[in-house]
Point group: C2
Chain length 448, copies 2
């Protein structure tokens, strides 16, 4: 039979599906059947599933695009809770960077398995990761069935070797894991990577069509310090070094100031910002100026940062936090409505990680990355406004099923591709050594 007539190989039946209208606004289609073929969405309709196809019965559940974590350091789950109630400077210099000296490749493998278990269980299907030993992380992404954009962090303090390793990894692994892995260049930040390295990063990004994933304008303090030291803001540094000429994912962006907006607006369609509001509250800092960014046409996506600061890799939690914190900082209860933040969680986050048209939507031709949310619990009943129920009442524990590229990774809350018990058993004897800082070494110094 002709290619277009081949039957679906998976049907998700009897769901209320989150779809987008022509303007990208969030809508819900009740009584929907989602058909999947070769890992892609074939259709979302109210027609019955054809006979003979594998069925995921979603009766009474909501189906939506899998969540996208736009900025994470996934193996840092091994340090969850190991650096609490300290200043940001002490968090880096006395805790995290000395502890990261202890990492072995085996630790990164185990911790990434744990992180993937947490993300699959909480409905994340794609994550943009920025860390070390990324080849081990890529292996775990492959084995667990997740989708990820991976970048190997580098500092200029490493000399050429950091950049070279990062570029080599990006070229080698881009498109691997049946296309589920894309890669990025991952200079740590504009204050730990010098202008020459940023310039060659920008060139390499353009030459190889790679995303550049970088911490920038992480706080207003950083922006003030950058202006004091060199007269320009961190975003101006990105513009002057050519980073904003290519595809760019900015982590945090809390220190983005009004003069940065024209630079970012000029790069719209290529530049995105990942925001992780829970951790910002926790360190007593301002949040990402999402309203200004969205007004400038810049894509904004949801993120968790690492679990050493955020304590979870729960994008669902980030979704609620983003809505609540935005309403608070803008002092406007009519801004960042539930539907708006569902838009950010789907199309916005896909754009931020450079995957528009690939993930973040249930429209035909997109990857079949789908989650089912069970709203039968007392905390999500009754339902007067489904968007509000999802954002303000539901929590990630209500996610029952997680599907990536048409493959079911969690079904009825049972993880199918990670052995959590074995992972924790293997990690347990390493915990004391992992958090030891008595060696006095550090991977880097944090100057703020």
């Amino acid at each position: 039979m002709p290619e277009t007539d081949r039957p679906a190989d998976l049907a998700i039946t009897d769901v209320t599906a989150l779809v987008h209208d022509a303007d990208g606004a969030v809508q819900f289609l009740a009584g929907a059947t989602i058909l999947v073929r070769d890992g892609l969405i074939l259709s979302v309709s109210t027609e019955d599933a054809p006979a003979g196809v594998e069925v995921v019965d979603g009766r009474g559940q909501v189906a939506m695009p899998g969540l996208i974590n736009c900025h994470s350091h996934s193996p840092m789950v091994m340090f969850r809770g190991a650096a609490e109630d300290v200043s940001t400077s002490d968090w880096f210099n006395k805790k995290i960077w000395p502890m990261e000296v202890n990492l072995t490749e085996s630790d990164v493998t185990l911790a990434t398995r744990l992180a993937c278990a947490e993300m699959i269980a909480s409905g994340t299907t794609t994550f943009a990761d920025h860390y070390f030993m990324m080849d081990r992380i890529a292996d775990v992404v492959d084995e667990t069935g997740m989708r990820a954009n991976l970048g190997w962090t580098y500092f200029s303090s490493e000399g050429d070797s950091g950049f070279d390793r990062g570029l080599g990894f990006a070229l080698e692994r881009n498109g691997s894991a049946s296309g589920r892995i894309t890669t990025s260049l991952a200079p740590h930040a504009e204050y730990t990577v010098d202008d020459d390295d940023l310039r060659r990063t920008a060139r390499a990004g353009l030459d190889h069509d790679l995303l550049v994933h970088i911490h920038a304008a992480e706080s207003r303090i950083q922006t003030r310090q950058s202006r004091a030291l060199r007269g320009i803001s961190p975003i101006q540094v990105l513009a002057q070094t050519g980073i904003l000429d290519g595809r760019t994912l900015i982590a945090h962006g809390k220190g983005i100031v009004p003069e940065d907006l024209p630079l970012l607006a000029a790069a719209r369609g290529r530049v995105g910002v990942g925001s992780a509001p829970k951790g910002y509250l926790k360190v007593g800092e301002e949040t990402t100026p999402i309203r200004a960014l969205v007004s400038a046409g810049v894509a904004v996506g949801l993120a968790t940062d690492g679990a050493a600061s955020n304590n979870t890799l729960d994008v669902w939690e980030s979704m609620m936090m983003t809505s609540l914190v935005q309403k608070y900082v803008e002092q406007d209860e009519r801004w960042m409505t539930a539907r708006q933040v569902l838009g950010i969680a789907t199309l916005g986050s896909a754009a931020a990680v450079g995957l528009t048209g690939v993930v973040g939507s249930l429209a035909p031709g997109h990857q079949a990355d789908v989650i089912l949310i069970d709203l039968s619990g007392p905390h999500t009943q009754p339902i007067h406004d489904l968007a509000a129920t999802l954002v303000y009442s539901a929590r990630s524990a209500d996610i029952s099923t997680t599907i990536v590229a048409g493959r079911v990774l969690m079904r009825d809350r049972r993880l199918l591709t990670v052995d959590l018990g074995a992972t924790l058993d293997a990690l347990a004897p390493r915990l004391a050594e992992l958090t030891d800082t008595t060696h006095g070494k550090s991977i880097q110094d944090y100057g703020f």
Copy 2:
């Protein structure tokens, strides 16, 4: 055998127990056995459980005092999501108060059952409720096995009948449900109840040793308006009318200003403030000045308000939000640590609802209101800092078991005293009429 030698009738075994030291600081006792007799905590120790006693096996779980919701309007779960993305004034005048005209006693019964299901499932064992038709709520508290402090809301616009009904209810039901129900006088607020009614409320509270539960200084706008209209703050109104001479539970207190602190400090030991930070973010308003209150020796407790504004009755969520929001507003990552907010969730909240020595602690002689938290999920592993794991990583869905007065109300996540399905089925046909506002009536007018 002598009274003190009678054996326990329930043992909760093999838990890590949250206990308090002599200064009230939170500590954890690993490998603990909690013995219960006649609904009270008999002991918390590392000794084995005696033979023949009923056992709740808590292997690998954390046991802590049941959560206390210091301010709720529990039946408002029926309006969950029915008044979203509107201004505070429209929320009251165009949505909630017109919708509340539609309430029948049967609606209140059904909605309170749903609320109790949600609270039991999320680890709340005591709630301080402020609403209408409280006799129906009291019946549901009795039937579900929960503990509550209940006050029947009144406005001066009702004439004498509101006050009389509130006092009558308080006297009739205080100590009912085997002592699990205590009562309060519940004037709505100092701007809807006039000074004469506040004065007789204060006198009746003292005469009958009843808590007065009142919305006061709900926002800085209210405080400004009170000063403009009558030259004094809402807390000064409470002081001048004698309310602060007795036991008082203030809901929200976001508009408490520095000049109020000496008045509240003078009432310490009798006065508490319930804070519900999620809803404050959602309406874009400031939060309760908890640091100033705690410094003044005023008890602060966790609350959810009603689910029409907060979307959940999840005190666990309030606990995390309180820590995060406090760190943010004080711009101090070392304030409101995980241990501090666990203190507020336990001893602080018990004090705020006037139940010090009765609930909020696993110390011998306290009510056996205990919850078990399962930390085996990927999002709560590994554990480097148990307090941080509980507050920043765990969520209410991790609560497996809820016990009130030694009676198990939820076991292994199965609700034992509420038929959720039957409750939702009975509520469903009422939803359209409940949210109808075309009748043009309202229970009250909100002037802010």
